[in-house]
Symmetry: C2
Subunit: 324 residues, 2 copies
């Protein structure tokens, strides 16, 4: 792109956001039309030149976020939504806010682990650009299943992350679950796979949703042809409540003895917990049980979720906004 356009965008952004001039005044100074300035500004915004951040003072009394922080030890970001919204609208709004909340956390030299699923797909569609250097986006778990290689679906997500942050993208071209644990063992010794595993071990940020076994609309994992009848009934008898990156856990956060995990390509929970910043995005109350399990397993350091689910999490279902 024309570099002088970029320079103009910067000038315009400074004048608009830092000097409170109107677009009209800026247009006169840049000797162009007001509409061009409008477009310059929007390009400045979505090229990440302008960064809007909302810092809510942590001392805002007994707010939802504070409650969650104290109860579960995670930094919560509650997305305000009204109850009347349907699932899709809620997801979209949670995803948009999640995308913008994640932005400031991504730095140069970051290694960003990304899972897949409907939540992450939505998030990836709303990412705001931010220029970083030498960042890498690495896929957390395979996406293939019996019907497709899952390439297009998961890789779209990865690609969007990569281009938003100017990062190299490292896909993980394996199925979500192997049919036989032995295959996984074999593959895990392949150098091509080890390269990915090593990257994962060095992640500085991980971003994922949660699956919940009993969700109203079951997650991709449970309904998308990844598991057969036998697998599903095994899950039921092991008291599994949900998963993160196709690794399953129980309500108490434990995952030992869940045989399916031996065939899963996602990072072991203990491994995930090594990551400094672990961002979990959740939209929809029906994921509550999976979410509680993930929190019990201490899988997240940051949690972005809609208000209704947040209330449910701390047992305030009925209450309206605090102190009104």
């Amino acid at each position: 792109m024309d570099p002088s356009r970029h320079a103009d965008a910067l000038r315009a952004a400074q004048m608009y956001y830092l000097q409170d001039l109107t677009m009209d005044a800026i247009a006169r100074e840049l000797r162009t039309s007001r509409s061009t300035v409008s477009r310059l500004l929007s390009s400045a915004r979505d090229s990440g030149l302008v960064q809007v951040q909302i810092r809510n003072p942590l001392d805002t009394g007994p707010e939802l976020e504070g409650l969650i922080r104290r109860r579960y030890g995670v930094d919560a970001h509650v997305v305000p939504v009204v109850e009347t919204l349907n699932e899709a609208e809620t997801l979209d709004r949670v995803a948009m806010q999640a995308a913008r909340t994640i932005g400031p956390l991504v730095d140069s030299n970051a290694i960003i682990g990304v899972a897949w699923g409907s939540t992450l797909s939505a998030v990836s569609r709303h990412l705001t650009r931010k220029i970083t250097h030498d960042s890498v986006v690495v896929q957390l778990n395979g996406a293939g299943n019996m019907h497709t290689t899952g390439i297009t679906y998961a890789s779209d997500i990865m690609r969007r992350f990569g281009s938003a942050y100017g990062a190299r993208v490292e896909q993980f071209p394996v199925p979500a679950f192997f049919d036989h644990a032995a295959t996984k063992t074999a593959m895990w010794n392949e150098r091509s796979v080890q390269r990915i595993l090593e990257l994962q071990a060095k992640m500085s940020i991980a971003i994922f949703g949660v699956g919940s076994v009993d969700a109203d609309y079951p997650s991709h994992v449970y309904a998308g042809g990844y598991l057969d009848e036998g697998d599903l009934s095994t899950l039921a008898t092991s008291d599994v409540v949900g998963d993160v990156a196709t690794v399953f856990f129980r309500a108490d956060g434990s995952s030992d003895g869940i045989v399916l995990n031996e065939r899963s390509t996602g990072p072991a929970l203990a491994e995930l917990r090594q990551v400094r910043r672990r961002i979990c995005v959740v939209s929809g109350v029906s994921k509550i049980n999976g979410l509680k399990g993930a929190l019990a397993a201490r899988l997240a350091t940051d949690l972005i979720l809609d208000e209704a689910t947040a209330r449910r999490l701390v047992g305030l279902e009925g209450l309206a906004v605090a102190s009104r």
Copy 2:
């Protein structure tokens, strides 16, 4: 203020800035009118809840800021202005942008040293609020002179800084210059004064303008009744080009042997250089000589200045915006 109003402002800000809803839509969700939302948002902005930041990628070619950085070793923030603006308008716009640039640099537990003068007065008028804890604003140099105690003028500046950042304000109730160096020595042993000096020694940020002896409109210091005829001629014979916080220096940045400094209440240049972050705000090309001296003395780590002065600084007076 009503705490629920604050909560609404936060919700509104999230929906507006993070979810791209219109004020109309937000009004419906909050069950209020669109105008109220508009007002909520502006209160969110100027209570510092919403933070707009402009990060210009440092790799934007041979830009003015890059040139200045390489030549003088300071982080430059060039404020775009057209040449046709008069002094007052330029100052206002530089001040506004300076105020908003400073904001993100102020943290909790900061000790902020602030000078006075027309530049800082303008800056103080445009500060955006930001809630911090246990911050202190400390006056860098006395403001009294033969005619007034200077209290109202300098203390207005200090007060504005204090209230913008929720910081304690520590004034320095001494004249700008003592008549006799001996009085300064005596006062500097007073515990009330030492308390201030100790605070200054612990400053984490210092904010100041520059005075330039030959400016078109001489700074307060040179015209405001602080110095008598004898002082002014002494300055002339010592090759002084300007001052920072009423401490004088020559074009090469040296200040040794300038007798007036022995009577000045500002921090010695060597002392100022100890401060981690030293922000210098300059508006108007006629301050160029003072500014060059200050840069030679390495008094600043960050420099906020108007475009015309920036061009002058790197010797590109005639040039228009790079690459157009």
